[in-house]
C-alpha cells in the first residue's frame, strides 16, 4: 500500500463522512421544517395562565431570580373597588386601614387609594411586588379575581427550562406566542 493511495483513501473517507454528516443534519432539519408546517413555531415566552393558577406561592421561591420575575398585576376592569378588599386585607383584619397588621401583602406593594364612597382603588407597586400570590389568593377566593400573577417579560431570563414551570402544581406556566405575552384573567368556565 503506497503512501499516495493511503492518503487519497483517507481523503475519500473524509468526504464520505462529511457527506453522511450533511445528510444526517439535513435529515433532522428537514424533518423539523416539514413538521413546522403543522405547528406554530417562532418566539415563545413563558407566561402564567391566571385561570389555571392556584396561587400556591411557589412563583416567589422557585424562580432562578431572587426576587422572582413573577409579579402581581391588576386587571382594573374586573375590579370591584371594594372597601373590604380581600386581596389587600388579611382575613379577620382588625380594621380596614393600611396598618401593617391588616395587610396581606408582606412587602406592602399594594397601594390603596380612595376614589369615592365606598370605592377604593388598588394599585400594585411593581418594584416592591415579589410575586408571592397572597393577595391573588384573597382576591380569587373571595373577590372577582382581578389580581393575577404574570411573568414580567423584561425581568424574565427566558430560560430554556423554566424552573417555576417545572415546579408549578397546576401546569399553569406554558410557552405562549409573543402576541399573548401577557394573559389577562378571564371568566372561569364551569
Amino acid at each position: 500500500m503506497g503512501e499516495p493511495s493511503s492518503k487519497s483513501r483517507r481523503e475519500f473517507l473524509g468526504l464520505l463522512g462529511r457527506g453522511a454528516g450533511v445528510v444526517a443534519l439535513g435529515g433532522v432539519l428537514g424533518t423539523l421544517i416539514l413538521r413546522q408546517r403543522s405547528a406554530v413555531a417562532g418566539e415563545t415566552l413563558w407566561q402564567i395562565d391566571p385561570l389555571k393558577c392556584t396561587h400556591c406561592g411557589r412563583c416567589a421561591t422557585e424562580c432562578v431570580l431572587n426576587p422572582s420575575a413573577v409579579r402581581c398585576m391588576h386587571a382594573f376592569a374586573y375590579c370591584g373597588y371594594c372597601d373590604l378588599c380581600t386581596g389587600f386585607f388579611e382575613a379577620s383584619a382588625p380594621a380596614l386601614n393600611t396598618g401593617a397588621e391588616n395587610q396581606t401583602c408582606p412587602t406592602a406593594a399594594i397601594r390603596r387609594s380612595f376614589v369615592e364612597e365606598p370605592y377604593f382603588e388598588y394599585t400594585i407597586d411593581h418594584d416592591l411586588c415579589i410575586g408571592c400570590a397572597r393577595c391573588v389568593k384573597g382576591c380569587v377566593s373571595f373577590g372577582n379575581g382581578s389580581l393575577h400573577l404574570q411573568i414580567d417579560q423584561e425581568l424574565c431570563r427566558h430560560c430554556n427550562r423554566c424552573s417555576i414551570a417545572a415546579n408549578c402544581p397546576s401546569n399553569a406556566i406554558t410557552r405562549v406566542e409573543p402576541s399573548r405575552q401577557y394573559i389577562p384573567p378571564r371568566v372561569k368556565g364551569s
Binding site: 463522512g17 405547528a39 370591584g80 418594584d127 427566558h158 430554556n160
Partner: protein, 468 residues
C-alpha cells in the same frame, strides 16, 4: 437579582400613611368588617371558588378613568436573529484565529468575548448544548421549534464537519469559562481519558430520552455554570458550578471532556473535518512539546513500530474477537437492563409523580393533599386518564430505555474497537475529534510557518512560551 428598577422609599411603609376613610374607622366598623368576613366565608362555602364577578365593577359618580396596567414587552424575535448572527460571526472568527492566524491570543480574546456575550449578557439561554433537547422534543412531539434554536443546534455541527470543534475553541460560554480557569493542568493518563470519555454518551442518551418523553430538560436543569452567568441561583447549583470551576483549574475543561453531551455530536462530526488543526505547519520534529502544552489530552502519538512492539497478528485477532464478544454481550445486557430502568426514570416525571400521589391519596396510604393533587382534582380529569397517561409515559421510557442501552453498548464497542486502529499520522498531531481548538500548542511548536523561521527549541529558550 435585578433591583435596577426598584426604588425603595420609606413612605411606602404601612402605618406611616393612612387614607381618608381608614382614619375614621372605629370599633363599629371593625365589628362590621367581622360580619362581612363571616358573610364572605359563607358565600365561598356555598358557591364554588370560581372567579366570577361577585362584585360588579362600580359605576363611578365622579369622573374616573380606569388605570391601565403597564406591561413591558419582551425583546422580540429580532434579537434572536442577532444572537444567531453573533454565533455565526464568532465561529468564523474562531476559524480565522485557529486555522489562518494560528493565534492563541486571538482565541483568548474570542473566549473572553463569548463569556461576556453568550455568558453574562445572554445568560446562557438558549445554548447549542441545551438545544439538543428542544430538537428532540420537537422531532418527537411535532411541536414547533423556533428557527434560531435549530440554528444554534446546527451551526456548530456544520462548522465541526468542515473545520473541527471551533465552537468549543472559544464560542461556547460553558467551555470558555472553564478554559480561562485553567491554572495548573495535570495530564490525565490515556486510559482514564478514554474511559471517562464514555460518560458524555450516557448523558446525551439520558438527556435525549427524557426530552423525548417530555419528562425533563436534564441538560438545563443540571447546567453547572448558568447560575454564574445569571449571577443568581440556588445554593446547591452555585456550589456544583464552583466545584466544576475548581476542578477545571487542574483538569482542563472537565465538563467539556467528560460530561458535555453535545461533545459526542461534535466529536463525531469533527472526525471528518476538511480543515483539521495541525500542530506543526511543516514536518514534526518529535519534540513532544505540544503534548505537554495540551491540557485536554488531544495530541495523538505517531504510529511507529516501537509503539506496538508486542502486538503480533495473532494477538490482534484475539483482541478483536474479545472486543466483538464483549460488544455482543453488552448489546444483549444493556438494552435489557435499560428497559427496566423505566420505573426509576418515570418517577422523575411530574405527571407520573402526580398519578402516584393521587393513587396513594385515593387508596388512603397518604393523608391530606398536596398542591399538585388538589390542583389536579379541580380540573375534573378522571383518574383513568391520569393513570393512562402515567402508564403511557412509563411505557415510552421502557422503549426509550432499551434504545438507551443499545446506544451505550454500541458506544462502548466502537470505543473498544477504535483502540486497535493504528494511528494514521506520522508525527505528533492533534486528534481532530478531541481537539478543542484552543490554539495553545501552536505557540509551543518550535516549527514555525515558513522554512526560514524554523527554529529548534533549546533548553534555555523553551521557557515561557504562550499563556497558561
Amino acid at each position: 437579582m435585578t433591583t435596577t428598577r426598584r426604588s425603595f422609599t420609606v413612605d411606602t411603609l404601612p402605618g406611616a400613611m393612612s387614607d381618608g376613610a381608614g382614619a375614621q374607622q372605629g370599633m363599629f366598623s371593625r365589628f362590621r368588617s367581622q360580619i362581612i368576613w363571616v358573610f364572605l366565608l359563607l358565600i365561598t362555602l356555598v358557591t364554588p371558588a370560581s372567579a366570577e364577578e361577585r362584585f360588579p365593577p362600580p359605576e363611578f359618580r365622579i369622573s374616573y378613568s380606569l388605570p391601565t396596567q403597564q406591561v413591558i414587552k419582551a425583546r422580540g424575535e429580532l434579537w434572536a436573529a442577532a444572537d444567531v448572527l453573533v454565533l455565526a460571526a464568532a465561529l468564523v472568527v474562531a476559524a480565522y484565529f485557529v486555522h489562518r492566524k494560528r493565534s492563541r491570543v486571538g482565541v483568548f480574546v474570542l473566549t473572553a468575548f463569548s463569556i461576556a456575550y453568550f455568558g453574562f449578557y445572554r445568560e446562557g439561554c438558549v445554548c447549542a448544548v441545551g438545544s439538543i433537547q428542544n430538537v428532540t422534543a420537537s422531532l418527537v412531539s411535532g411541536g414547533g421549534l423556533a428557527w434560531w434554536i435549530a440554528a444554534f443546534f446546527a451551526l456548530p455541527l456544520i462548522t465541526a464537519l468542515f473545520a473541527g470543534r471551533l465552537f468549543c475553541a472559544g464560542v461556547c460560554p460553558l467551555g470558555a469559562i472553564q478554559d480561562v480557569m485553567l491554572w495548573r493542568p495535570i495530564q490525565l493518563p490515556r486510559w482514564l481519558e478514554s474511559s471517562l470519555g464514555l460518560f458524555p454518551h450516557l448523558y446525551l442518551g439520558v438527556a435525549v430520552l427524557l426530552a423525548a418523553t417530555g419528562t425533563e430538560f436534564a441538560i438545563c436543569r443540571w447546567d453547572p455554570f448558568v447560575g454564574f452567568f445569571r449571577m443568581s441561583g440556588t445554593l446547591s447549583m452555585l456550589l456544583i458550578g464552583a466545584a466544576f470551576l475548581a476542578g477545571s483549574m487542574f483538569v482542563g475543561r472537565i465538563y467539556c471532556r467528560f460530561i458535555c453531551p453535545y461533545s459526542v455530536l461534535l466529536r463525531a462530526f469533527s472526525r471528518f473535518a476538511k480543515w483539521k488543526v495541525h500542530v506543526s505547519p511543516a514536518e514534526c520534529t518529535d519534540c513532544r512539546l505540544c503534548e505537554k502544552s495540551c491540557s485536554f489530552g488531544a495530541i495523538k502519538q505517531p504510529a511507529r513500530d516501537s509503539d506496538r512492539p508486542a502486538v503480533s497478528r495473532e494477538a490482534f485477532r484475539r483482541r478483536t474477537r474479545i472486543t466483538l464478544a464483549v460488544g455482543v454481550a453488552l448489546l444483549i445486557l444493556l438494552p435489557l437492563l435499560g428497559y427496566f430502568t423505566k420505573g426509576a426514570l418515570a418517577r422523575l416525571d411530574t405527571r407520573v409523580d402526580l398519578a402516584l400521589r393521587i393513587q396513594a391519596e385515593d387508596s388512603g396510604r397518604i393523608q391530606g393533599t398536596s398542591e399538585e393533587s388538589s390542583a389536579w382534582r379541580k380540573t375534573g380529569e378522571t383518574t383513568d386518564v391520569l393513570y393512562a397517561r402515567a402508564a403511557a409515559i412509563e411505557y415510552q421510557l421502557g422503549i426509550g430505555g432499551a434504545l438507551l442501552g443499545t446506544w451505550m453498548a454500541l458506544a462502548i464497542t466502537v470505543r473498544l474497537m477504535r483502540q486497535s486502529l493504528p494511528a494514521p499520522v506520522k508525527g505528533y498531531d492533534a486528534d481532530t475529534a478531541a481537539c478543542l481548538g484552543c490554539a495553545r500548542c501552536f505557540d509551543y511548536c518550535p516549527v514555525k510557518r515558513g522554512s526560514n523561521e524554523r527554529v529548534l527549541v533549546t533548553t534555555s529558550s523553551a521557557s515561557a512560551r504562550g499563556s497558561a
